[in-house]
Symmetry: C3
């Protein structure tokens, strides 16, 4: 069974913390050891794991990505969102998190962020728990 | 059992769509739920998932990577392909895709691309299906 | 069971080859087919797979990351290590390697590197082997 986590972005570039939703979905499975596989089925969004305590970190990551890959440039793709596609490749569309003793093995400062690069949109993240290990 | 997908690049920088080959290999296993793990055993290539409909997107990603990490620069590695190694780290060498109801759970616009950064070469991608979930 | 690989960095930016420790931990499990999932529980470090033979490659990757994401910049995060957080997102915090016939399926030139971006520090990498495939 696949679980879908719904995410709604409200601006063009936005990181949305989905850690709580992932934890909740994991607990419902009752699986205590394995890996949690998250997959973003979009081509202008990504997923990253980084500091959740200070929102300035998310701001700094977004600002640097915008500086490296500017909104306007010598792009050929006619939809005007090439930079969002490029950022998706740089951050990646999947993440795996270890599960041990029924919990996500995240570091103290880590949160899981859905990365919106072409919002606002209604998005979703696919999730599957593979038991083992 | 490991499955190898063979890829032949014809120029220095090239994205090659391997989605069809991955789908075909998945169907032969008969596995209906789990994850499909793809791994590139090369250090001057990568793998990414992005839009497959408009080839301009692939062109824009490659052009931006070439702008960020130019072919010539202050590189110490003597083989003259440092930029390809760097791009490999930026795109990554592995991807996991969820499998549900016997199919790869890709978004409507997503394709899986082998990223050649130091072609032309004969390459391959390792694939293993882990059932579960 | 989760296995932790301890890593001690000695400078601010440093790639540390952990391939040997991962191989050793894999052999102790006796698992012959599956995937090896590695996860870095830190927000100012990453993990990458790239050439291990010539140290110049690691130097070139680090130098380019430092050029793209400079130590000092228009950062808001007050701890002075925003660039390390950004590099963590660019390299990623997890890697999966295929296991076949009891061995990691790495390419001839590939090594697994813990990427320190805010050292020196005592760090660790989580590891779980999922059998299957």
């Amino acid at each position: 069974m696949i679980k879908h986590i719904n995410v709604k972005s409200s601006v063009r570039t936005e990181f949305i913390d989905i850690t709580g939703k992932v934890r909740e979905a994991l607990q419902k499975t009752g699986i205590t050891s394995g890996i949690c596989c998250l997959f973003v089925p979009h081509t202008t969004a990504g997923i990253t794991i980084n500091e959740g305590a200070d929102p300035s970190v998310q701001r700094d990551i977004q600002t640097m990505l915008n500086r490296l890959v500017p909104f306007d440039g010598d792009y050929h793709h006619s939809e005007g969102n090439s930079e969002a596609h490029i950022k998706s490749t740089l951050t990646g569309t999947s993440q795996n998190i270890l599960i041990d003793e029924g919990r996500l093995v995240l570091g103290r400062w880590q949160s899981i962020f859905f990365c919106e690069f072409d919002g606002p949109r209604q998005r979703r993240v696919g999730m599957k728990i593979i038991s083992g290990g």
